[in-house]
Amino acid sequence: MPAPTTSPPLWLLTASLLTGIGLACAPDEVKTTLRTTVRDLLRPGQMAVTGGREWTSNHYESFRIRWLAAEPPSGLGTDDKIRDERLRQLQAENVWLREQLRHSKSVAGAIRSTEPLLVPDVVEARVLGTETVQRLRRAARSILGSGGRDGIEGAALVLAGKSSQIDVGEDSQLHVDHLILAGCTVAGKVGEVGRYTSTLLPITDKQYRGLARLARSAGSGLEFGAEGILEGDGGDGCRLNFIQSTEPVSVGDSLYTSVTDGSLSVPLLYGTVVAAELPPGAPHWSIQVKPAADLSKLRRVQIVRTQPNPLRLNAH
């Protein structure tokens, strides 16, 4: 079939150019609404593609082992990862228990401590893909498969998915929500929220900011140190700012979220200090942090949202 020969009219070209310029000058709310609408429309196709990739990946591995007599993957790396996760989970639970003990000792007599009004809850979301256009050397932000319909709000913490199931003992006295969150690594925050999708602002993004505390392992668990502001460097790492020069900092220290930031009472892991310099005469340390979460391999994440405490609601 021969190609159509009607030439493009100049008035339509002018209208298109004016539309582009108009869109560039439009208010941010209009641009945000347009972006979230387009992402929501693409969600069904993206869910089909990511579901297909997961199914193919899972079945290919079992096919290789069963029919091609391939060696099963060595469990060493996986076992180490599970052990590290369990260690972080126990350390975080330890911190929470010590806080509870300290608080109960400070309350006199038979006065019972009040339950918090809001408690955290998690929503699991699949990573559907990434944004299509990015500037040079800027990582594209991921698109998540949950949005406002699931109660997701902007700036909610996003945690990397766990590699192992949580072992909840029947005699555990801890809240289930804290067990879910304890030991998790922070991948970033929710950026733009649509009805069915949202975007992930990774901790390495230049726009990311969060309160963070230094910590190191001691005999009795985690010893927390100075608190600062974590921000992304726009590449693969982060910087921890506003740590006074008088505070002790060393390479290998861990970085956790501050429990005073929001409704969370368990610290979540940001990453590890990989470089710490104190220029002569400088008031603050220059600290480089390597994220604990592998942001390039995220397939599923957990989004932290707050909800009213059922115990407080039932008490009335």
Binding site: L13, S16, L23, T132, V133
Partner: protein, 177 residues
């Protein structure tokens, strides 16, 4: 080409770009399925349809970007206008000619879009580095587009050959009569 064909190809291109492009990454370079689909479709539609399609694709591409909106609407519209006329020339009459036009077209579209975004953001990366990175992406995109064009050309040639073969039933009927 019918309207619903365009709608389906549009949806598939953008889903592929956002969800599948990372699976095709080689040496840190990913193809751009949106630009590839756009460059392959423009010569196959009328001029008016090409500009409308460019505006819609540019709008969708801007919506999936994490930087300034409106840039891709302008880039795609201009690219559609120029490319439509180029494809009507001598180069656009053969499959080889169309393939040769792919790489420079992809490079120009991607370059203009990236440079505009960098300038508007106020933090310009080194131009040489930007051109080099864009050339890699444009090359990969053009290679994917060339493969698609060759497959389409091969498929159409096969269907033409099949239709030229004589119908055996007619021949038998002619012999027996």
């Amino acid at each position: 080409m019918r309207v619903w064909h365009l709608i389906v190809i549009t949806y598939i291109s953008f889903v592929a770009q956002s969800s599948l492009a990372s699976a095709f990454e080689i040496g840190g370079v990913q193809p751009n399925f949106v630009v590839m689909g756009f460059l392959l479709l423009v010569p196959r539609v009328s001029g008016r349809a090409a500009l409308l399609m460019a505006a819609v694709w540019g709008l969708l591409s801007d919506s999936l970007a994490n930087s300034h909106a409106g840039i891709d609407v302008v880039c795609f519209a201009l690219a559609a206008f120029v490319l439509w006329h180029l494809q009507r020339g001598a180069l656009g009459q053969t499959t080889v000619g169309r393939i040769l036009l792919l790489a420079p077209s992809a490079f120009v579209v991607l370059c203009v879009s990236r440079i505009a975004r960098e300038v508007l953001s106020g933090a310009m990366s080194p131009l040489a580095l930007m051109l080099k990175e864009t050339a890699k992406i444009a090359g990969f995109t053009a290679a994917c587009g060339a493969l698609t064009l060759l497959l389409i050309a091969f498929r159409f040639r096969q269907s033409e050959t099949t239709s030229l073969l004589p119908d055996v039933r007619n021949r038998w009927k002619m012999l027996t009569q």
